[in-house]
Chain length 171, copies 4
Amino acid sequence: MTANKFDIKLLAMDVDGVLTDGVITVHADGSESKNFHVHDGAWLRIWRRLGRQTAIITGRECPAVECRARDLSIDYYYSKALIKKEVLNQLIEQSGIDPVQIAFIGDDVFDLPVIRRVGYSAAVADANPEVRQAADYLTSLPGGRGAVAEFIQHLLRKMNLWDQAMERYRQ
Amino acid sequence: MTANKFDIKLLAMDVDGVLTDGVITVHADGSESKNFHVHDGAWLRIWRRLGRQTAIITGRECPAVECRARDLSIDYYYSKALIKKEVLNQLIEQSGIDPVQIAFIGDDVFDLPVIRRVGYSAAVADANPEVRQAADYLTSLPGGRGAVAEFIQHLLRKMNLWDQAMERYRQ
Amino acid sequence: MTANKFDIKLLAMDVDGVLTDGVITVHADGSESKNFHVHDGAWLRIWRRLGRQTAIITGRECPAVECRARDLSIDYYYSKALIKKEVLNQLIEQSGIDPVQIAFIGDDVFDLPVIRRVGYSAAVADANPEVRQAADYLTSLPGGRGAVAEFIQHLLRKMNLWDQAMERYRQ
Amino acid sequence: MTANKFDIKLLAMDVDGVLTDGVITVHADGSESKNFHVHDGAWLRIWRRLGRQTAIITGRECPAVECRARDLSIDYYYSKALIKKEVLNQLIEQSGIDPVQIAFIGDDVFDLPVIRRVGYSAAVADANPEVRQAADYLTSLPGGRGAVAEFIQHLLRKMNLWDQAMERYRQ
């Protein structure tokens, strides 16, 4: 493997506005629900089947997100990550993965320090304008509508893994 | 009846992203809710009143979907259908219906093997591009917004059953 | 009052897809939630303050809708109204109001017999094409996004009650 | 500080249709849920970190909104505010802030008296046409999709506080 080969080993993701549509549904008892999308879950499973890892970096703390992260078998989970750059450093240390082999997808200005540091980054269609400009790739779908699934498909094509991923659905 | 006559006896449907908008709302206790549409339910009832059958083929397992399927009196219900082509074979055997008389509506690449095998297929407006290209019919509505109702209306017109279906609402 | 004067005394409404966005959210325990809009509630209160009445005609039976109807102080509530024309006849008898002084707003083909009978009718922006064509007025907003509020404002202007309705918000 | 300097010390907000998308989700037990947006919460925190205050003025009374207000550390909370101008007078008295240093964001005609009185006002993208015309600023985002976050960013730039707000996310 040469240094030039595009080979993302870990996909890190913001949650609110990326894996969700940014909506926080508040109930009469004060509990919160969040809206995830089935396509993101399906493609995260394909991503993992190809031996790749996943991480969640969220500024908030939320039981609903923890439940979803468990359901998706996320490898690294960081909540209350107010200064996301510090958390990224933790992730790099814990995973032992070179930042150039980490991809990240975000939506708000708080994600900018992470976007600038990782090897490849994406902004969702409805991200903050500064984030859209800073990211390497812009999804056509907004957060919570399959933007992560779209980014994974983009990464798989860029890494020439598309045919391998599709194999079992082709026949 | 000749082999050329267009006569769909069973409508099979994917759930997430087709009968729902793809959103999985996760609550603080980890339970999940899904968004169905009233028009789909109303037209599935008309479809059944005309002596036609229905099937659900879903890759996931979800109490909310089981509840909705019961409410809609779905004839055949398959969950955890990760390899959907195998489940289609089961459906063909159990129902005794010729695949050419089965219609299917889906949205993601996992549905491709089913779309290629049934007599007539549809993709929802916000389906994966590969699925949109493979399907016989493309609904103008996205999943969970009445796409199934739209497909049923299309089938009824194509089968010359429209006037019979509308009869009781015409006077 | 002459027979020609436009004077709507009662506004009858379909629920799913009109007062709601058509979404039926199904939870893990099988219970259902529906999405109403704050603008509809606010303008229904103004409508009632001007001495006008309201009715709900719904084909389904749903605890969430009953709760909302109570909250909105709806005058006449009919559920499980599968043949809506019959229910309209009941409403005319019970309210003693001439059908020409009843307005109705609907969205699906099941509403057609009612739309054809009342004095003035509206279809929501995302109504079935046949309904859009049959109605006197087409709202710019889809169901559950304030379409009823928009129709009420239209009725108030058409009845020259706009200034009276706005009086307390003008100063 | 001269009288001409644009210096907003308090941001007052309507809730339904502004901090939420206007949807009132009604459950089978009659309880209500509302949809807030993560971006609004994030920017309200930045707003407060810059020493500015916040107020909520809502015509309804709702446990879910009280929960969200507590989570956002809102300084002044007024519910059941049917005549909003009277509540604005209360807010001015209690906070001791000159109305010219108060900003307000609303969506419906009930907000008009407040919009006309404060120093600077905004209407969300999907506000009532009369409100859109009366307001000083029109957000590009609809209510509940980050319109408050957008208005705060606009205020920060107009008050030359943008760089200070962004400082910790720039490195």
